[in-house]
C-alpha cells in the first residue's frame, strides 16, 4: 500500500474538519445555552441542502451557477433559522424545565421534518450540479475548488460567530447564559431571547453545512442521521457545550477520518472513532474542553 501524499492528506483533512466544525459548533452552541441536545439538528442540515436545491431549480434560468449558490446558501440559512425559531418557541420553550423531555420532543421534530421533506421533495435522491468545478494542483496534491469553498465558508461563518460572541453585547449575553443561566437571569439577561437567538444561529450553521454538502453529495431526507452520529462523537470528545472543544475535536476527527479513508477501509472509521470516544469518556468524562455539569 502506497503511503498517501502528506499534503493531500492534510488538505482532505482540512476540508472534512471544516464541515464537521460547521455542523458541530451549531449543535454545541445550542447545548451550551439551552442544555438541550437537539436531535433534529441533522434534519435542519438536510433542509439546508434541500433549500439550496429548491433555489437552484427556481433560478436556474435567470442566474449563473455562482450567484445561484450564494443565493441558495443565504435562503437556506435564513429559512432554516426561521424554522428553528418556531421550533424553539412552540416546543422547546414550554418544555425547557425538563431537558430529557426537550430532547425527546426534538426526536419528534426529527420525525416530522424527515417525513415532510420526503413528502414535499420526494424520497428519491436529488443531486445538484457541481457548482465549483475544477481543482488546484500543486506539489503533487490536488485541492478541489469545492473543498476550498467549504473551508472558506466555514472560516468566514465561524469567524463571524466568534466576532458576534466575543465582541458584541448580545454575544456576551449568550456566553453568560452558557456559563450560568440563573446568574445571567439575575443580571437581567432575557434567557428566552438568548435561547431563541442561539437556536436561530444553530439552525443557520446547520443549513450552511447542509448547503456545502449538497453541492457535492446526493441529497435525501435521511442524510441527517449519519452526520448527527459523527457530530455527537465530535461534541462528546470536545466537551459538550464548548465551542473551542468542538473546533479542536473537529480538526482531530477531520484529519483522522481522512487518514483512515485514504489508508483503504473507510468502514473502520466508525469503529476507531467510537473507540476514541469511549476512551476519552473513560478517562476525561467531560471531554477535552467540556463545560457540562
Amino acid at each position: 500500500m502506497a503511503f498517501p501524499n502528506l499534503l493531500q492528506l492534510f488538505l482532505n483533512g482540512l476540508g472534512l474538519s471544516a464541515f464537521y466544525a460547521l455542523f458541530a459548533v451549531g449543535l454545541t452552541l445550542v447545548f451550551g445555552v439551552m442544555r438541550i441536545i437537539n436531535f433534529a439538528h441533522g434534519e435542519l442540515y438536510m433542509l439546508g441542502a434541500y433549500l439550496v436545491y429548491f433555489v437552484f431549480n427556481l433560478g436556474q434560468d435567470q442566474l449563473t451557477l455562482l450567484p445561484l449558490f450564494f443565493a441558495g446558501l443565504l435562503v437556506a440559512m435564513a429559512g432554516v433559522s426561521l424554522l428553528s425559531l418556531v421550533i424553539e418557541r412552540a416546543i422547546f420553550r414550554p418544555l425547557r424545565k425538563n431537558p430529557i423531555n426537550c430532547f425527546m420532543a426534538s426526536v419528534g421534530v426529527l420525525y416530522i421534518l424527515q417525513v415532510s421533506a420526503g413528502q414535499i421533495f420526494g424520497i428519491k435522491q436529488k443531486s445538484l450540479p457541481s457548482f465549483f468545478p475544477g481543482e488546484i494542483r500543486f506539489a503533487g496534491a490536488a485541492l478541489s475548488i469545492r473543498i476550498l469553498v467549504t473551508i472558506i465558508i466555514a472560516i468566514v461563518l465561524l469567524g463571524l460567530l466568534w466576532f458576534f460572541l466575543e465582541k458584541t453585547r448580545l454575544g456576551r449575553g449568550i456566553r453568560a447564559c452558557a456559563q450560568d443561566g440563573e446568574a445571567a437571569a439575575l443580571q437581567g439577561i432575557n434567557i428566552n431571547r438568548m435561547s431563541a437567538l442561539v437556536m436561530g444561529l444553530g439552525g443557520a450553521l446547520a443549513a450552511a453545512s447542509g448547503a456545502v454538502v449538497g453541492t457535492s453529495y446526493l441529497i435525501n431526507p435521511y442524510m441527517g442521521w449519519l452526520v448527527l452520529w459523527k457530530a455527537f462523537i465530535v461534541t462528546i470528545v470536545g466537551g459538550m457545550g464548548s465551542i473551542p472543544g468542538a473546533l479542536v475535536a473537529s480538526l482531530l476527527f477531520g484529519f483522522l477520518d481522512s487518514l483512515i479513508s485514504s489508508l483503504g477501509n473507510p468502514r473502520m472509521e466508525i469503529l476507531i472513532d467510537v473507540t476514541i470516544m469511549l476512551v476519552v469518556l473513560a478517562y476525561k468524562p467531560k471531554g477535552i474542553l467540556g463545560i457540562a455539569r
Binding site: L95, K97, M104, I112, I236, R267, D273, M277, L281, A292
Partner: protein
C-alpha cells in the same frame, strides 16, 4: 377498604388482559397473529428499557443490545448447531457482557453523555455486523431454526411460537417487576432521586447503576433472541436506530412512572400504526406529533391520565410553592421524602 377495591380492580384488569392475550390470536387472522407476537416482544423491550431508564440513563444502544442477543443465538444455532434453548440464555448473557463493557465509559457522567455515547456505541456495533463476514455482512443470517420440541410441544406454527413468546416474555416481565419492588429496586430509585445523599450513606451508586444496566440488558438480549428466532433471520437492518426510537417513543407515550406505562405505550403505538397501515410513509410523522403532543399535554405519559382524572399527580410536587424560582440543583433539598 379502598385498597381492597383497588386490588380487586387490578386483579380483574390483569385477568382480563391475560385472557385477551391468550385468546386473541385464536380468533384472529394470520397477519394479526404476527403483529401480536411482535407486540409482545416490543412490550418486553419497552419494559426492559424502562428498567434501565430507572437508573437515570436513556439507553440508545437498546436495539443494538437486543441485536447482540439475536446475533449470539444465530451464531450458536446456525454455525455450531446448538439448541434454541441454550441460545436463549446465551443471548441474554452476551447482551449483559456488552453492557458491562460499555458501562464503565458510558456511566462516568450524568445524563446527556450516557445517551449520546450509547447512541454512538450502538451504531458502531451495527457497523461491525455489516463489516465482518463472520456476522454475515449486510445480509445477516438466514435459516434460524424453530425452537426444539419440548414436552411434546412443537414450535413450528405462528400460533405455537406466539404462546412461546408470551410465556417467556411474561416470565421476564414478572422478574423485572419483582426486581423493581425488591430492595435493589428501591435503592436504585433513591439513587436517581438523590445521588449525593445515597453516596453519603455508603451506597455505591456507580455499581448499582451499572448492575441495573447489565440486568436490564439481559432481558433485552432475551427479547432479541425471541425476535431473531421468530423471524428466522437476523440482519443489521432490523436492529436500526429507528427501532430504538420506536421503543423510546412507546416508553415516553406510556410514561415511565409506573411499571404499566411502557406496556400501555407499546399497545397504543401499535394500534396507531395498524390503523394507519395504508399510509405507511406517514407513520413516523404521526410518531413525531404523538411524542410532542404527549410531552406538551401529559408530560407523565398516558398512564397518568386515570390519576389525573382523579385529580392527583403521580409526581409529588416539591412543597415549596414557588419551586419554579428555585434553581434545579436545590430541588432535591426542598423536596419531601419520595417514599410512599
Amino acid at each position: 377498604m379502598r385498597d381492597r377495591r383497588i386490588n380487586l380492580l387490578l386483579i380483574l384488569a390483569i385477568g382480563l388482559s391475560a385472557l385477551t392475550v391468550l385468546l386473541l390470536p385464536v380468533i384472529s387472522s394470520g397477519y394479526y397473529r404476527h403483529i401480536l407476537t411482535l407486540t409482545v416482544i416490543d412490550i418486553l423491550l419497552a419494559v426492559s428499557f424502562r428498567a434501565i431508564q430507572k437508573m437515570g440513563g436513556w439507553n440508545f444502544a437498546h436495539i443494538a443490545i437486543m441485536g447482540i442477543g439475536g446475533y449470539t443465538s444465530a451464531l450458536l444455532t446456525v454455525k455450531l448447531g446448538w439448541s434454541f434453548w441454550l441460545g436463549l440464555p446465551m443471548g441474554g448473557i452476551m447482551a449483559s457482557l456488552f453492557a458491562l463493557l460499555i458501562s464503565w465509559p458510558c456511566l462516568r457522567t450524568e445524563g446527556f453523555y450516557f445517551f449520546l455515547s450509547t447512541f454512538a456505541a450502538g451504531e458502531a456495533i451495527r457497523q461491525v455486523w455489516i463489516m465482518f463476514e463472520f456476522f454475515g455482512g449486510a445480509n445477516g443470517f438466514f435459516g434460524l431454526p424453530h425452537p426444539e420440541t419440548v414436552f411434546r410441544i412443537r414450535f413450528d406454527t405462528v400460533l405455537s411460537n406466539y404462546y412461546l413468546v408470551v410465556a417467556i416474555c411474561s416470565a421476564c416481565l414478572w422478574l423485572l417487576y419483582r426486581l423493581e419492588k425488591s430492595r435493589l429496586g428501591n435503592t436504585i430509585k433513591s439513587i436517581t432521586s438523590n445521588p449525593e445523599l445515597c453516596e453519603s450513606i455508603g451506597i455505591n451508586t456507580w455499581a448499582h447503576k451499572a448492575s441495573t444496566f447489565i440486568v436490564g440488558s439481559f432481558f433485552t438480549g432475551v427479547a432479541g433472541v425471541l425476535f431473531a428466532h421468530y423471524n428466522g433471520l437476523v440482519t443489521p437492518k432490523e436492529f436500526s436506530v429507528l427501532y430504538t426510537y420506536k421503543i423510546i417513543t412507546a416508553v415516553i407515550v406510556g410514561g415511565t412512572a409506573a411499571f404499566s406505562g411502557p406496556i400501555v405505550g407499546v399497545i397504543f403505538l401499535t394500534g396507531l400504526t395498524e390503523i394507519f397501515r395504508d399510509l405507511e410513509q406517514w407513520v413516523p410523522l404521526l410518531y413525531g406529533i404523538v411524542i410532542i403532543g404527549i410531552l406538551l399535554l401529559f408530560p407523565e405519559g398516558l398512564q397518568s391520565i386515570p390519576r389525573r382524572l382523579r385529580g392527583k399527580s403521580s409526581v409529588k410536587k416539591p412543597f415549596h410553592r414557588k419551586s419554579r424560582d428555585v434553581p434545579e440543583q436545590y430541588h432535591a433539598a426542598i423536596e419531601p421524602k419520595r417514599g410512599e
